[in-house]
Amino acid sequence: MTPPADRPAVPLRKPGAAVADPPVPVAEVEGLDVEFRLRRGPLGGTVPLRAVRGVDLSIGERETVGLVGESGSGKSTTGRALLRLIEPTGGRIRLDGQDITALRGEALRGVRRKMQMVFQDPYSSLDPAMVVAESIAEPLDTHLDLTREQRTARLAELMEHVGLSRRHLNRYPYEFSGGQRQRIAIARAVAVNPRLVVCDEAVSALDVSTQNQILNLLEDIQAEFGISYLFIAHDLAVVRHIAQRVAVMYLGEIVETGPIDRLFDQPAHPYTEALLSAVPLPSPRRQRERERIVLTGEMPDATNPPPGCSFHTRCPYAMDVCRVEVPAETPVEGGGSVRCHLRG
C-alpha cells in the first residue's frame, strides 16, 4: 500500500471533478486474518484456529463504528489486531493512511500514541498498586516530554474532562466504583489525544444507569477531541445509542455492515435479524407480538468451520447453495453490505 510519504501534499483533482475525494479513513482494515495455534493432544500437535477471517473495516473521522456479535465471534480479536496487540496473520491495517501492519519496536510504540483502548473490566485494567495519577500519566510519560507542571496540569484537566476531580488523583483504584474506574480508564485512553479509541465492551460490566453516563461521556469526548471509536459490544441497544455504522460478526467473519438505522430497521442477514429479535423492546405489547427468532444450536467449532456460508448450520432459511458456496459481499439498499445467498 502507498506509504503516506508518497501521497501528494495537496490532493490532485481532475479538473471538473466533484470537490470531495473520499477522505482517508482514520483506521482501515483490509482482509484481516488472525490465526491462533491451539495446542492439542499429548504430542503437542497444533490445530489452527482462524479467529478472524478476511475482515474489512473502515472507521472515518469522528465516526463510531459498532462491532457486534456473540462471544467467540472474533470481535475482540479484531479490535486487538487492529491495535496490533495481537499479531495478524494476514491483511493490512492502516492508521491515518499509514500502513502499520508490519511496524515493530520503536516505530510501533510511536503509532500507539494515535490508537488507544478502553477495556471491558475496569477492575483489572487499572494497576491496583498505582494511584490514579500514575495510571493516567502512563501514556503521557511514554509519549510526551512534559515538565512537572505541565504533567500535573494535564492530569487535572483530564480528570475534569471525565467528570472526576483532581482530588481523586492520589487515590487507589479500589477506592472507586466501576463507573468511576471506567472514567479513569477513558481519561488514560484520551490522555495523548489519540485518533482512534477501541472500546472493547467498555460498558458491559457496568449497570444500566452507569452505562448511559459512560456512553454520554464517550460522546462528549468524541465531540471535543475529534476521536473515532471502534465500539465492540454484544449489547445492540448500547451500539444503537452510540454508533453511526455497525458491522456484525459471526465466526470470525463480518456478515453484514450498514448504517445504524438501516441495519436495525431492515436487517439483511438472517443472523442480524436473530440478534435484533433478542433485543427487548421497550413496549410490552410490541414485545409480545414480535416474532422471536431463536437460533438453534451453538456457534460451530472455530477450528473446523462449516463449508459454504459459515452460518448455514443455524440459519432458518438455509438452502442447498449455502452449504457449498461462500456467499459474496453484496451491497444492500440503504447502505452497507451483506454476505448472504438470500440477497445475492
Partner: protein
C-alpha cells in the same frame, strides 16, 4: 471551607508517601510483627556495636575461670570451657550468624529474582528451560548438598552459605515466576502495552511492584531458614571455624558440658530461636500488611 482544604492537602501528598503511609498504618497494628522487628533491630544493632557492649575481649581465655555460672566473676552469662565470656562471644557470634544468613539470602535473591522475572514474562521455551533447571536444583536436600560442597571446598562459612543460597534460589525463582504469571494475565499489563510503554518499563512499573510484596515476605522467611541452616552446619563443625564463633558453633562447643554448664547451650540456643522466630513473625506481619486483599474488594 476547611474540609476542602484538607482534601486539597491530601491530594498534594506524593503517591509514594501515601503508599508507604498505608503500609505503615496496617503494619503498626501488628503487635507481634512490631515486637519481632524490634528484636531484630536490637540484634543487628548489638552486633554492629559489639565492641562497645562487650565486657571482655572475645577471644581472651582465662583458664583459671572456666565454666563459671552466669553472674560469677563478672561473666554476665557465664564463661565457657576455656574461660571465655559467653556474653561477649554471643555478641560477636551474632555478627557472624547474621552476616551468614544475609549472605545466603543475597545469593538466593541474586540467583532467583531475575530468572523468575524472565521465566514468568517471556514464557514458552525460556520458561521451560529455567524451570527445569530450577526443578533440578530443588531435588537436592539443602544440608546434605552443603555438607558435600564443604567437604570438597574445605570447611568455611562462606562456602557453606553460598551453597545454601544456591539451594534457596529456586524458591525465589518459583515465587517470582508465579507472581509474574498471575500479574501478566491482568488487563492492566495489556493496557500498558496498548499505550506503547516499553517492555522494560512495563516490568519495572507494573510487574515488579506487584511481585514485591510476596518477595519481601519470602526474604524474611528465607532469612530464618538460612539462619537455622547456618546453625546446623556450624553445629556439625562445617561452618564457622574456631576461634571465631557463631551461635551454632557455640552450641556445638557447649554441648559437651550440657550437664555441668547448661548456659553454654541455652543462651546461644535462645538467641537462635528468638531470632528465627522473629524473622518468621515479621514475615507473617509483612504479608498481612502488604497484602492486596483490601485493594481487591471486588
Amino acid at each position: 471551607m476547611s474540609a476542602a482544604t484538607l482534601d486539597e492537602r491530601e491530594a498534594l501528598e506524593t503517591p509514594e508517601l501515601s503508599a508507604k503511609a498505608r503500609f505503615w498504618r496496617r503494619f503498626r497494628r501488628q503487635v507481634p510483627a512490631l515486637l519481632a522487628l524490634g528484636w531484630l533491630a536490637l540484634v543487628v544493632l548489638a552486633s554492629i556495636i559489639a565492641p562497645l557492649l562487650a565486657t571482655h575481649p572475645p577471644l581472651e581465655q582465662d583458664l583459671g575461670a572456666v565454666l563459671r555460672a552466669p553472674g560469677q566473676d563478672g561473666h554476665l552469662l557465664g564463661s565457657d570451657d576455656l574461660g571465655r565470656d559467653v556474653y561477649t562471644r554471643a555478641l560477636y557470634a551474632g555478627r557472624i550468624s547474621l552476616v551468614a544468613a544475609a549472605q545466603a539470602v543475597a545469593v538466593a535473591i541474586a540467583l532467583g529474582v531475575v530468572p523468575g522475572l524472565v521465566a514468568g514474562y517471556a514464557g514458552r521455551r525460556v520458561d521451560s528451560v529455567i524451570m527445569r533447571i530450577t526443578d533440578g536444583v530443588m531435588c537436592f536436600p539443602p544440608l546434605i548438598l552443603a555438607i558435600a560442597f564443604v567437604g570438597v571446598l574445605g570447611p568455611s562459612l562462606t562456602n557453606a552459605m553460598f551453597v545454601i543460597g544456591v539451594i534457596f534460589a529456586p524458591r525465589f525463582v518459583r515465587l517470582v515466576r508465579g507472581s509474574v504469571l498471575s500479574v501478566r494475565q491482568e488487563t492492566f499489563i495489556e493496557a500498558s502495552r496498548s499505550i506503547g510503554t516499553p517492555t522494560h518499563r512495563v516490568i519495572r512499573r507494573h510487574v515488579v511492584p506487584n511481585v514485591l510484596s510476596p518477595l519481601i515476605v519470602q526474604i524474611s522467611l528465607a532469612a530464618a531458614m538460612a539462619m537455622l541452616a547456618e546453625a546446623s552446619l556450624s553445629f556439625l563443625g562445617l561452618g564457622v571455624q574456631p576461634p571465631d564463633a557463631s551461635w551454632g558453633s557455640m552450641i556445638e562447643r557447649g554441648f559437651r558440658y550440657t550437664a555441668a554448664a547448661p548456659w553454654l547451650t541455652v543462651f546461644p540456643g535462645l538467641l537462635i530461636a528468638l531470632t528465627v522466630l522473629a524473622f518468621n513473625v515479621l514475615g507473617d506481619g509483612l504479608r498481612d500488611s502488604l497484602g492486596r486483599e483490601e485493594r481487591r474488594a471486588a
